[in-house]
Symmetry: D3
Subunit: 184 residues, 6 copies
């Protein structure tokens, strides 16, 4: 069962967190896990994972984001991307509980054409890694963005916790679906 944790301390996300066992080294968790933490996001081009963004020289900056870092110890990139897509859907669905209706385009979320999220998935030799950042504040971002604060999500930790709980349930639901069907 995937472990979940909301970090108390602020952590700047600069891309170096997308390494296998970063969660273990930071928080001591062993195994599949998703952790949430708040902090500035500033990823220089040489730390970026998405090489199309790199070729466009579009580095990432946000003054304050709610970050999710997910690690599954299965280095299957295709599966990781489906899980990333699912996680974005869960965020969208949770936002709708706050009467905030966002538009999902693949792994991006928009509110009235302002970008709410950044996200990427990749693999190491031993695991797959997903980062998702949701703007809380947006001052100084290079493109038009929206933040959770402006959208009225005030209890960020609770919001993060709910989404991670839903992710865990969804994974359990998917696992059960694998175990209850006969082949044809």
């Amino acid at each position: 069962m995937i472990k979940t944790l909301v970090s108390d301390k602020r952590i700047t996300y600069d891309g170096t967190q997308m390494q296998s066992h970063w969660i273990h080294n930071q928080f001591g968790l062993v195994g599949d896990a998703v952790v949430a933490f708040i902090g500035q996001v500033k990823v220089d081009l040489d730390k970026m994972i998405d090489l199309i963004d790199v070729s466009r020289k579009e580095s990432i900056y946000s003054p304050l984001m709610l970050n999710f870092l997910i690690e599954h110890f299965n280095p299957n990139l295709e599966l990781a991307i489906y899980r990333q897509w699912l996680f974005m859907t869960l965020i969208k669905e949770e936002l709708s509980q706050f009467e905030v209706n966002v538009y999902r385009l693949g792994d991006d979320l928009y509110f009235n054409k302002a970008k709410l999220s950044v996200s990427v998935a990749t693999v190491s030799n031993v695991s797959s890694l997903i980062h998702i950042g949701l703007n809380i504040e947006t001052e100084g971002t290079p493109i038009k963005t929206e933040g959770l604060s402006e959208l009225g999500i005030s209890d960020i930790n609770s919001f993060a916790d709910t989404i991670m709980l839903k992710y865990r349930r969804e994974l359990e639901h998917i696992h059960e679906a694998r175990c209850k069907v006969r082949g044809v």
Copy 2:
């Protein structure tokens, strides 16, 4: 690239459609494909795929459904379930274009606690198969259900076509995501 097709003729879905190459045999399509067809849905217990439903003796009936049958020639059940989940999300997102807000619980869609959908995914030796049915009409269904007609979706074929197109785009988007990230 996945092929898509809306069938003109009515087809009763009785579970025997969940066989590899049924799409090829019916419509002549070769390769990954999703087809949509309208028809009665009546699956007896011995044809059902979900063995929990079987053990509860919950057979499936709907007088008229919009059916999607999806085949991917990769017999990976876990991946198939993530694709099924994604497809349900796309239906939900398209319904919201019609101001119809449904609740997704795994691979089920509900409107005000009435069930809109049935769905299952499984594998053969050579492929994975997904069936999704959306009630159009609901007379005689064994549980409380909702139908697309009541929800104001009148042009079923166009609705089906849009969702299949979105599914194809989403698969292309996911494929691109696999090809643009560096490993870590």
Copy 3:
């Protein structure tokens, strides 16, 4: 986490138990599971899984065995065989707690050249399946055999329970080992 269960009722093992979801259909368990049951074992040639045994016309009979039936919802035969080997090792190690030292040859256990066990692993479309039988009594077996009764194992259910518990712990240990090593 794998589920474990010791069955109260006697069940004759005739080979038809090596089907996906037999455990679910019998005991209602969903997901990876190992169950133990006591009963006669009589497998006719057309129900046998090992085709070398079939070609030698060596059918299987024991008047009373402790049977383990294991299902993992991952149709990987190679992995299943390693798990089968591991399970045999756990039985051997548990027997040594009773001062009974058996000889393991692959997936077979012998006591003084008398055969204690039968075992086979295979796959369905959706899962892998392992059967292990340990003679309790041996009257009428076609070859020289030894039984748990003669070896002084009187509380069969407790013996079965211990082994299944050790199997669960071993799987957890292996899972942890996957999650704690860096790649090279």
Copy 4:
């Protein structure tokens, strides 16, 4: 569908091209691709992929080669080698159109015992990579070699283009073969 491109500019192949996304970084192509380029080939021992060659201290040199660089975003080495073998076969078959009959030994091509080609396949975390070089000129090569110029292949770009087109068709043919057979 795999993308193909013949590069206009000369590029020296020194082994550093065998990196994931080199094709994307150089030519902007996203996804599975094969590119052809002409240039000197000089690979020092520390850049070589084949470790048997390294242990024999056999570095690679050719004054001018037609190079193919292939990337598939599936890090499966065994599959990559079968694709490499197939590509060599396509080169051999195309050369026979010019009445040039070469001998294939695994992934090497020979004309009258003179070596025409170098080739290697490997994997990164996210993709498989294949390099194939065909001598155009041979002055200064460390072993006996043959070049396309001497063999009468004057329009190198057209030759390269034809082979890449055949590779694409072959991949499509193989894909279709996967989708049209029933399991047994």
Copy 5:
């Protein structure tokens, strides 16, 4: 290492040979194997593997073929097709030793537009299976065909043996190629 065998007795190929362990049941070989046998080939539509042929109602007939039946205990269809392609290439290359130059189109061989071969690859739960038939005689075939007799291949068993030996060497070569390259 793959086992090879040329059968002494004539065997009619009717499609039922494409089952896992047919080779074991017929010849007692255990493990990956390729066997060659001569016999009539007559496959009715309900026994055919290629469903495009079935939908075109193109059954298979030849009065006398050299048949190869290959089984690898790895149920990976994509890999099986690459191996099938490789086997066809080996036949083509061996024919060229007899000054017989055939044209390969995917998994088909032609001599002057007359079809020399039939072939198909598929999977069972536990293995992949390939059948290749080369006409020896052609009287009564439903399409224009060519036979090994007319092409001057008189010692069929020796021809079969050479090709199977080359296949074994090629598999060893490919295996070595997997083991000697560093990742990137």
Copy 6:
């Protein structure tokens, strides 16, 4: 078939041996292999593979160990761990031939609560790697340990050879088990 070799020369194990192709570079073996060598073992924290040990700052030291280094050219970590478990079982079984009964806890061996072994398994891009060290002498080890010398194993090379031979046979046995069962 896996290759085996006992090295004549002493080699200090410092963790850098856990790299793909170290066996090839040292001993010239190509392909799956297990080698045994005697030497001091001293692994600093930055060379350690097990990150839980690293976080506990438990580096590894033994004045003299019998080391096994195993490489399989299949980068599947789960499978590698099952093979590591199997290897530990073989060591335990061989020690019992010397009337030395050790306790196995996962991949660790103990004699009267003194630790006999260290072991770890991991993957590179192209292979899986396993290291197993058995204390021969124990002076200066950071925890309570036992050594083969004290246990009466005097001919270390012969002991190593026997275990590697048993590993090879076990792998062949497992391979045969894959090839002789029908699917269900």
